[in-house]
């Protein structure tokens, strides 16, 4: 590939919509300003989440971050998970375009991309 891509992490976070503002605050506090959010319907231990009411609405956040920032983000989220909040968090290794902002050594966040 001729275009240079940088390595980072794609972090997917599925939360109940009541946690949304809190998550945005967490992201902002650690320096993540770009994110994508999607309505997420599903079913699991917490029951059906079909978006019919706020108590049954899930949201999925996707953020692209450097490896270092991913660690910070996971540590923050784990604090809330230990408090009992239901968060589903998974990471993927990602090759990220827009590389001018995505330098792992300087610990900058990669810009979020939108679908």
């Amino acid at each position: 590939m001729s275009i240079e891509m940088y390595s980072g992490k794609s972090v997917h976070i599925i939360i109940n919509s009541t946690f949304e503002n809190k998550l945005i605050k967490i992201l902002k506090n650690i320096g993540v300003t770009g994110y994508t959010q999607l309505n997420a319907r599903g079913n699991g231990e917490q029951g059906v989440q079909d978006g019919h009411s706020e108590g049954e609405s899930n949201v999925m956040f996707v953020v692209l971050v450097s490896n270092t920032l991913a660690d910070t983000l996971i540590k923050n989220l784990n604090t809330y998970r230990e408090m009992g909040h239901h968060l589903l968090v998974y990471l993927h290794d990602a090759q990220i375009l827009n590389s001018e902002k995505c330098d792992d050594s300087t610990n900058l966040q990669c810009p979020g991309w939108t679908f």
Binding site: F19, G47, D50, H52, E56
Partner: protein, 328 residues
Amino acid sequence: MGIDSLLIPAVMFFALGVIAKLINSDLKFPEGMSKGIGVYLLMAIGLKGGIALGKADFQLAVESIIWATILGFLLPVIGYGLLRFRNKINAFDAAAIAAHYGSVSAATFLTAVAFLEISGVTYESYPIVMMVIMESPAIIVGLMMAAFVRKKLAAQKGTANVKTQWGPLIHEAFTNGSVVVLIGALVIGSTASPESLAKVTPFTQDIFMGVLCLFLLDMGIEAAKKADTLKKAGVILISFGMIMPIIGGTLGIIIGASMLEFSVGGTFLLAILSASASYIAVPPAMRYGVPEANPSYYLTLSLGVTFPFNVVVGIPLFYQMTLWYIGS
């Protein structure tokens, strides 16, 4: 007035929604429509209540508010006590579930109003105000009970207690959409001129019953969706979902008739308020404020057990109980 209470269009559309889901029909409402209809219904009932309140007795209005506040704090405590009897139910689940039963279901209330109007029974407007008051205190009680349990567990484990962030939770409890629309509509109804309100009446009164039918059709679909999780809830919780409304309803009848001296219609509506469980306002508050609780329990109970119970059994039962109590 037994089976007749089930043969009103609103209840029959609820049953239609349940049947549609059970036969796997693809009937569903567009996203957001249910919330929009809910706002309309709250606006309409709030305006109606406000218009009546403008001519109401001030002292009785104040007494109604006081009793509504008492019920709002008392019912979740009773519910928690029942659920924690013999430690059958986890304390966090008990706190969250109890909060639902201390609050109110506007949907059940509106169905009860439909029943009274079709039956030609008049009612006071004070229960509408009481509905507004009773929305939120139970949330505070549920959060306090959970905070107490959290502190106790932390002390037992020797770990640091996680402090509850009261600010955002209290803000959410008292500014949720339902409360804002209801209070706003009550104020508008009681202060706007009769001439200007008359222009709104075709929208808020004439089509009210039809819109309620649509709303209950959707509620029937949603209630039936909970059928799968009923098994998970278990016999104890399902029993609670039917016993607690009877306790609440009975308390409502006593307070409505003996303390507030409401008519049959008003007492019946207070019974319904006390018997109902929130589905809209309390779940998000508990999801965030009591994350340790399992939301499938309280959502299944309030919508899958108590709402259908109140619509099918509660309305005729509490009406007969009210007639008997006031008659005696």
